[in-house]
Symmetry: C2
Subunit: 246 residues, 2 copies
DNA sequence: CGAGGGTTTGAAGTGCATCAAATAGTGTGG
DNA sequence: CCACACTATTTGATGCACTTCAAACCCTCG
């Protein structure tokens, strides 16, 4: 096994999704994989293209989105370390259900869908893991839709910030760093950059957070939680929605 | 096998999701099932309750939703004939991820989740069918989110109407009947009843549809398609998103 | 007929989008 | 290290879409 293949093997092994896979399988798929570095703005694949590969993000950020004929974009999600994308095309006649583009310089692993398909069909435990992962993602998307319906712009930002924190350590001061530029955060939350800017200011007034560039600080998350989670159907530590696959 | 069990068996057999299941399995789960008739407004289960059963709708309509502490509801989806619901709780620690309530008098089949879980674990083909079903539903939800972002109220109504039509027969006059009351359609589309009423009027002006109570008629779908699908990332016959499971 | 829900209409307010312009930040070459 | 170019972000002004509150209307059904 080459050194790169070994690296990929180790990465996959650390993912919960692949925890039920044999070492044999991981070795085989790692050998067929490619690890590449892509600059910001690189298109991984395009909506409705023939799908032969899925991707694992090693570092950086990748947005998945669809667009209308006149160029309007709807951002579906934005992924980083340890997330996989494009794998659902297996169940969609091998057609990518969205486009994917790097939004930061990123390291990506390209993996063949055919082997994934094989593994699902032959390893029931893996199929189950895949189902769990899909169900979790689905719940997350349900919640996204709910947020668009019930929360206003400042609340959506607050909720987004909360999901960036390590929610295990409650109480005490917290520093949050926005992972990509504000324009992108805005579209991720379904609002215009101008709205984002104003909404963040409002959130600052309402909850006493400190905003310096892309760093946000607060003495305690309490006020943020009270303000943001008021219009949500989930209780605060809503972190159990974490997913690996997309 | 009792007569009821036979009826249920036949219903399940007609669902694509169960097409890879043995007759044995269908017989077994049918015998453990209950067919009931519920009036409008009956709660099937509540968000975060312990989940032991999933449901198949035989007739009528069931809404699935979540609500905030102050009673604000977010409708996740509304299901009818041949749709199943509550089955994803298998992958969510046997906790229902939403509440479910009949919105019309409905015939429902209650089925044990334990047997479904068994079947997934022992029948790879069924696991695959389940995955396909989840992927399809997921794509549908993605599109829902997109619609909320890119389409305005009249367009969302137009799109909803189009999905109620038999899109195989293009051209020619069409009659569409709203399946449940307008207030519910409104919340299904994420708008207020008043907005729905006004938006429908606007849609009438823009596309020349005829509205009589809950019946809508038009000489041809062309104008409706042109108007509604303008702000969408999918081409018109977008019916391939049909799902059985929820 | 009268009660009560569903639906429509009107008037007023709010939130977000849009357009335009100013400002802050970042990286470049000199 | 500075000036410039270019992009990201903020701010202001205005408009539109949707919501909210209130009231009328319309059905259906007892």
């Amino acid at each position: 096994m080459t050194e790169t293949a070994q690296t990929i093997h180790d990465m996959l092994q650390r993912l919960e999704l692949f925890s039920s896979c044999s070492d044999d399988f991981l070795t085989k798929i790692s050998s067929a994989a490619h690890l590449t570095t892509k600059p910001k703005g690189h298109m991984l694949f395009i909506h409705e293209d023939q799908a032969d590969y899925f991707y694992l993000v090693k570092s950086g950020w990748v947005k998945i989105f669809r667009e209308t004929l006149d160029g309007d974009q709807a951002i579906v999600d934005i992924f980083t370390n340890g997330h996989i994308l494009g794998e659902t095309s297996i169940f969609q006649d091998d057609i990518y259900p969205y486009s994917a583009e790097t939004v930061e310089p990123s390291e990506l692993v390209q993996l063949p869908l055919s082997m994934l398909k094989d593994e699902i069909e032959t390893n029931p435990k893996f199929a189950m893991a895949m189902l769990s992962s899909m169900a979790r993602y689905r719940k997350q998307q349900d919640q996204e839709l709910e947020h668009r319906t019930l929360q206003n712009a400042p609340q959506r930002i607050g909720c987004f910030l909360l999901r960036l924190t390590d929610q295990s350590q409650s109480g005490g001061p917290v520093r949050i760093h926005l992972p990509y530029d504000k324009t992108l955060v805005a579209s991720r939350l379904g609002m215009q950059p101008e709205t984002f800017s104003r909404a963040l200011k409002k959130l600052k007034q309402e909850t006493g957070i400190e905003v310096k560039g892309s760093t946000i600080e607060t003495d305690s998350l309490d006020r943020l939680v009270r303000y943001s989670c008021a219009a949500c159907t989930s209780e605060f530590p809503c972190k159990d929605l974490e997913t690996e696959s997309g």
